[in-house]
């Protein structure tokens, strides 16, 4: 059963607004693939193109290597889990799950057997007779999954299915979804604006911004080797320092940053001397200068403004003395104890833990959102990746 999905130069325009710029992409059979991007970047539109609710202005979708051009929604080997679940409110759990089989003319006994199997799979055994209105949020979620799996799709499309759940349940359902995907071997295409969700569950993630795919990679690569400024700031937290390329060699790039002088990091994209570029340092890669201790470390002097306690870590918000820019620094308990708002401190980073990316004028995530680096949004908090090294 080939559940691969190929987007071949797909374009979607609504009147004169281009929702999806030309996009080509191959999603492998049996993969857990996520589209990650801020609200309005075109994720749902792309999913609707795959499921057949929208036909692309141009280009083709191939599922299992068969072109989907002209194939209507009800004949595609996909099943969708909707943002609001869309369970049929007047039907029982059984009727919901059996709906797809019933319209295919499957007999009653087979339907019921299948429904019971699926209810077992989603850990809802014995709830088949309940009306859907009697279920909790998490249970509804499971029924929606069982209903979609009942039609044996080759590709399961999930449009932010967890966004309505509370934090605990969301984390629980993440693991469950992942487990179901492994057990069934179905291709999952998952849409979310929550980077934590995408990174935790996916084999690969496509980061989208304004109708364009910025980077497709596995979560580790996205986090450690972003290719664009947008990815660097959208996936995890990052401090961005903009300047101009001075030199570029042996995978290292050195920038001249106004007010801060020469700073270097790994070069992460095509760079040429004289061009604008930005250095990205994650909050956990910055540390108090005496802790760095190496001559290779680059130094920044900053005025601490706030210190927030986050369990084992403290997040500092500090203003660079030279440029008045805000940076965020994550420090361990020992170091954090001595730091107070109002103090001035020197921070350093190991250039191997910073990355330099060309500044092509495209908006970074932060600029787009009109915020200083990293608003204290829930997903960012909950999923900070702190390298153990």
């Amino acid at each position: 059963m080939d559940g691969s999905v190929i987007l071949d130069n797909v374009v979607m325009r609504f009147d004169d607004f281009t929702a999806i710029e030309p996009t080509s992409l191959e999603i492998r059979s049996g993969e857990f693939f996520s589209f990650l991007g801020p609200s309005g970047c075109g994720k749902t539109t792309l999913l609707n193109i795959i499921s057949g609710f929208l036909s692309p202005t141009d280009g083709d979708v191939r599922i299992g290597n068969a072109s989907m051009r002209g194939v209507p929604v009800n004949h595609r080997p996909t099943a969708m889990i909707f943002q609001n679940l869309a369970l049929f409110p007047l039907m029982s759990v059984y009727q919901n799950i059996e709906f797809g089989l019933e319209v295919r003319g499957v007999d009653r006994a087979t339907r019921r057997r299948k429904a019971d199997e699926l209810l077992e799979l989603v850990a809802l055994g014995g709830s088949g007779g309940k009306p859907v209105s009697a279920l909790s949020g998490g249970q509804k979620q499971r029924v929606a999954i069982a209903r979609a799996l009942a039609v044996e799709p080759r590709v399961l499309l999930l449009d932010e299915p967890l966004s309505a759940l509370d934090l605990k349940l969301r984390q629980h359902m993440r693991n469950e979804l992942k487990a179901i995907q492994r057990k069934t071997g179905i291709t999952f295409i998952y849409i979310t604006h929550d980077q934590g969700e995408a990174l935790a569950m996916s084999d690969r993630v496509a980061v989208m911004s304004a109708g364009r795919i910025q980077q497709v990679a596995d979560p580790e690569t996205l986090y450690h080797r972003p290719q664009t400024g947008f990815v660097a700031t959208f996936v995890g937290e990052n401090n961005r320092l903009a300047g101009r390329v001075i030199e570029c060699r042996d995978g290292r790039a050195t920038l001249d940053i106004p007010g801060l002088g020469r700073l270097s990091g790994r070069s992460g994209s095509e760079l040429s001397p004289g061009r604008p570029a930005a250095l990205f340092v994650r909050p956990e890669s910055l540390s108090l200068s005496d802790a760095v201790g190496s001559a290779a470390a680059s130094m920044l002097e900053a005025h601490i403004e706030t210190v927030s306690f986050e369990g084992a870590w403290r997040m500092l918000e500090a203003r660079l003395i030279a440029t008045r820019e805000t940076v965020r620094i994550l420090v361990g308990q020992g170091a954090g104890d001595v730091l107070q708002p109002g103090q001035t401190a020197r921070f350093g980073y190991d250039p191997d833990n910073a990355i330099v990316l060309a500044d092509d004028g495209a908006p970074t995530h932060d600029a787009e959102m009109g915020e200083t680096p990293r608003a204290s949004s829930q997903p960012a908090q909950e999923n900070r990746h702190v390298p153990s090294a």
């Binding site: 499921s51 609710f53 209507p72 929604v73 009800n74 004949h75 996909t78 099943a79 969708m80 909707f82 609001n84 869309a86 049929f88 409110p89 007047l90 709906f99 797809g100 319209v103 295919r104 007779g129 309940k130 209903r147 979609a148 009942a150 039609v151």
Partner: protein, 266 residues
């Protein structure tokens, strides 16, 4: 404290007066049925009798008119409900520039006096050699009753979550299956109450029917004609019978509803 009590008493008094206002005429009408008087009245009381029921039973033309009213109401149901539902579906689901036109077209009979609808129906169909009768009564009434049905169904349709339909299609249903299994069950309560309203509207209609009934007199038109020739308490007897039937239907409905509301074992 006393202000609260004053308010409570005031409210009770108001409700009491309201019910008296509502039901006193019905009560007087019912009692008058049993008065042995040539006119439908309770004063003077000339003695108790059941003869008006006998007279009602013997009034063949009245029964024919009642039968015809029911026939017309049935015909109106068959015409107005599909038209109303279809136009509601069209106006809420189809993207079309014809929308405001269709909306206006369906609603305009509601704004037109019933008399005008009756007369124009008659004049229009006469061109085709069709004269007043059951057929034209059904057509004339259905023109404006469809609008009631449409408004009621539309109100419910606007609360329908369209993603349910998409979910059905996504699960492999044909558009017809999605309609029948998902949208129609959702609309059912609205369609049923619209049908009930349509039936009553048709049954009690007078001013449109008056012009188009021809020889197929409906109950309302027949009763009105009797006002001229002299009304006897037989009319009250009919009223009483209709009230009793209504109460019976309402009770059965209510009992059934309560039965359904009871929690069932899962």
């Amino acid at each position: 404290m006393s202000a609260q009590r004053f308010f409570d008493w005031g409210l009770r008094l108001y409700i009491g007066l309201f019910f008296v206002y509502l039901f006193l005429p019905l009560a007087i009408m019912a009692v008058a049925t049993f008065n042995d008087s040539r006119f439908p009245t309770i004063t003077p009381w000339n003695g108790t009798t059941l003869k008006w029921f006998a007279e009602l039973w013997a009034d063949g033309r009245m029964w024919a008119a009642l039968g015809n009213s029911l026939l017309v109401a049935g015909g109106v149901l068959c015409l107005a409900v599909p038209i109303g539902v279809a136009s509601a579906l069209f106006l809420t689901t189809v993207e079309s520039r014809a929308k405001p036109f269709v909306y206006g077209l369906i609603l305009s009979p509601l704004l037109t006096p019933g008399v005008i609808i009756g007369i124009s129906t008659l004049i229009f169909w006469r061109e085709f050699g069709i004269n007043g009768g059951t057929f034209l009564t059904v057509l004339g009434q259905a023109t404006f009753i469809s609008a009631y049905v449409m408004l009621m169904v539309m109100a419910r349709l606007q609360r329908f979550d369209r993603t349910l339909e998409r979910a059905a299609l996504d699960l492999g249903a044909t558009p017809w299956q999605a309609f029948r299994r998902v949208l129609l069950p959702f609309l059912k309560p609205a369609i049923l109450s619209a049908a009930a309203i349509a039936f009553l509207q048709s049954f009690e209609n007078y001013n449109t029917s008056l012009f188009v009934v021809g020889y197929d007199t409906t109950l309302t038109v027949y009763l009105a004609s009797k006002v001229r020739t002299g009304l006897t308490p037989a009319v009250n007897a009919l009223g009483l019978v209709l009230i009793l039937i209504t109460i019976l239907i309402a009770s059965v409905y209510e009992l059934k509803r309560r039965h359904e509301l009871k929690p069932k074992g899962v």
